[in-house]
């Protein structure tokens, strides 16, 4: 394992202090260090390339060559650029002028959607809202039961008119449509929003099945849910441990459901979380929440500056 990027850059520039202009090769060495650090942090390669190009330009500029400590100056530039991409200020959840506010969750299998549904519901409840969870994952075995338990833990109500995949039978043979759903998730989502209107819930959080970026059918299903319920927010939940697949995945979900915000999950782990940079950079969508544990309380507003230090191990 290498020492932190900050240490390495400082070492690279140690002998240069006060020497004035940096040579091209000093900058090349620096950019190479930054590239390695970003790749080790799982930042996606195209994003690394674009990012280092930008840093390179600034590193050749006056602000670095005239600095007392060029190493620290470059670190500062890298950090500023990172925070810039990750979103300087965190965006608040957009609430509908006319309740209910509808929030749809989407993401890869196992990314943390269902758990996050409970966390967000609890957070909003604590802020005085009256949220309803809607069980529109009818695919993964016992996803509906899971959301019901999650709702109980968050002390909110769960709308679950379909039991989904619980029968112990095989979707492939029973329905003839692969593993796609025991019932109609589009209908469940619409009914959930209807239920909220009738019963006066002011926020609806719709949990959906996990799906792969390349699964056309399931992506279409997500698009159908979106079109049906016209959500105020579509939150894309992505695992902080994800590697180079982050770009393809984020772009596919942007194309599929045009998400409005990002949730970075499992940040309580020790992954450096380069995915945050990849996703924010290629989609331009803000990261809004960090999911930091398995319990209902483990939700935080996302902090771009903390994430920048984490990615760079500084």
């Amino acid at each position: 394992m290498f020492t932190s990027l900050s240490d390495r850059l400082t070492a690279t520039f140690k002998n240069l202090r006060g020497k004035g202009r940096l040579t091209e090769s000093d900058v090349n060495a620096t950019v190479r260090d930054i590239r390695l650090a970003l790749l080790d942090a799982d930042v996606a390669l195209p994003v690394v390339k674009e990012f280092t190009r930008g840093v390179r330009e600034r590193a050749l500029g006056a602000e670095v060559s005239q600095a007392l400590n060029p190493g620290q100056q470059v670190v500062k530039i890298v950090n500023d650029e990172l925070v810039g991409i990750l979103g300087g200020e965190t965006r608040q959840l957009r609430l509908a002028k006319q309740p209910p506010t509808v929030i749809m969750l989407a993401g890869l299998q196992g990314s943390g959607k269902t758990t996050f549904a409970g966390k967000l519901a609890k957070l909003l409840k604590d802020q005085g809202h009256y949220p309803l969870l809607v069980a529109a994952d009818l695919q993964r075995p016992n996803a509906v039961t899971q959301l019901e338990v999650v709702a109980e833990r968050a002390e909110v109500v769960c709308f679950a008119p379909e039991r989904g995949n619980v029968g112990g039978h095989d979707a492939v043979t029973e329905s003839g449509e692969g593993t796609q759903s025991f019932g109609d998730p589009v209908w469940v989502a619409r009914a959930g929003v209807g239920q909220a209107k009738v019963r006066g819930y002011d926020v609806v959080i719709v949990d959906t099945a996990g799906r792969l970026a390349v699964d056309e059918n399931l992506m279409q299903q997500a698009r159908d849910i979106r079109d049906e319920i016209q959500p105020d927010e579509v939150l894309f939940v992505i695992d902080a441990m994800i590697g180079q697949a982050a770009v393809d995945t984020a772009l596919a979900f942007q194309d599929g459901v045009d998400f409005t915000g990002v949730v970075l999950s499992k940040l309580d782990g020790d992954a450096r979380g380069g995915a945050a940079l990849s996703v924010a950079s290629v989609t331009g969508r803000p990261i809004m929440y960090a999911s930091v544990g398995e319990q209902t309380k483990d939700i935080e507003v996302f902090h771009p500056d903390r994430m920048a230090s984490r990615i760079l191990d500084m």
């Binding site: 390695l36 790749l39 080790d40 942090a41 799982d42 996606a44 390669l45 890869l108 299998q109 196992g110 990314s111 943390g112 269902t114 758990t115 695919q139 993964r140 075995p141 016992n142 039961t145 899971q146 959301l147 019901e148 338990v149 999650v150 833990r153 995949n165 619980v166 029968g167 112990g168 039978h169 095989d170 979707a171 492939v172 692969g178 593993t179 792969l212 970026a213 390349v214 695992d239 441990m241 994800i242 590697g243 180079q244 697949a245 393809d248 995945t249 499992k266 309580d268 782990g269 020790d270 992954a271 450096r272 380069g274 995915a275 398995e294």
Partner: protein, 280 residues
């Protein structure tokens, strides 16, 4: 790959990019590219196909096709084989247990499932659904938060009493940096071992995982002596290249791959196919 009959910097960068984008990581990528460069230097100017062939060879060498990738799943010394399935959250442990049970049932084996995830919402229900689906019994606790080690023990004991061929124990997802949860896993292992040796510990890694997969493998191996890796979600765009470094550093082979959410979406790991997919 070849510009005007020779490999230029851009060509080498393409090779490097391919490997990096498959999540091989900087270290493994650099090593492979360096040995390829050496070969090219020794052999003079090769043609493009030859270099491609060499890249394939170098990568395959790293993946080591000679490793034993069989799963211990038949009765041993008059007792059932015991398989423990571990990993971080959401990688596909429970699904893998279900699919593996299906494979073993198809081989006419008597299988018992143990639901030692007593923590995650509806985890035991999820496993039991898989059990019903493939027609095997699930040993579980009805109490949320019950002692997972006790459930694991009961499952293994139950398997012994019914003279099953194999007991598959599913555990809760846990992040490797949480020492209390890793201690709990160690305890599950020790408690099972009061009843029976454990023959196989499968670490389930999600193919989308980046460089953190290495840490996962290291820490889980320290805690419970991992004997095999299951690489899941290979049906997506991710290549799962981190397993190259994992196999090399720990000497633990990838044994199975997950290729979907259905019961038949489990296959033995095929080194050549893996390399093809990385270089595709």
């Amino acid at each position: 790959l070849l510009a005007g009959g020779k490999l230029d910097d851009e060509a080498w960068e393409d090779v490097e990019d391919t490997l990096l984008q498959a999540d091989l990581g900087v270290e493994a990528t650099t090593e492979i590219v360096d040995s390829l460069k050496q070969r090219v230097q020794v052999a003079g100017v090769p043609d493009e196909d030859e270099v491609r062939g060499w890249l394939h060879e170098e990568l395959l060498k790293q993946v080591n096709p000679t490793m034993d990738r069989r799963i211990a799943a038949t009765r041993i010394d008059g007792r059932p084989a015991v398989v423990l399935v571990v990993g971080v959250n959401g990688t596909g442990k429970t699904t893998t247990v279900g699919k593996l049970a299906r494979v073993l049932v198809a081989e006419d084996k008597d299988v018992v499932l143990g639901a030692a995830d007593t923590f995650r919402a509806a985890a035991a229900d999820q496993l039991e659904t898989w059990g019903d689906r493939v027609g095997v019994a699930t040993v579980r606790s009805d109490r949320e938060g019950a002692d997972p080690a006790a459930v694991a023990f009961d499952a293994v004991k139950g398997g012994a009493e019914t003279e099953a061929d194999v007991v598959l124990v599913d555990t809760a997802g846990r992040l490797h940096n949480k020492s209390n949860l890793m201690d709990e896993l160690g305890k599950i292992k020790r408690v099972i071992e009061k009843q029976s040796p454990i023959d196989e510990v499968l670490l389930v890694l999600d193919a989308t995982t980046g460089q953190n997969g290495m840490r996962q493998a290291e820490v889980f191996s320290q805690a419970v002596d991992v004997t095999g890796i299951v690489l899941t979600k290979l049906d997506g765009t991710a290549k799962g290249g981190i397993v190259v470094a994992v196999q090399r550093a720990l000497g633990v082979p990838v044994k199975l791959v997950g290729l979907g959410e259905g019961p038949d979406d489990l296959a033995p790991f095929d080194p050549a196919a893996f390399v093809d997919a990385v270089l595709d």
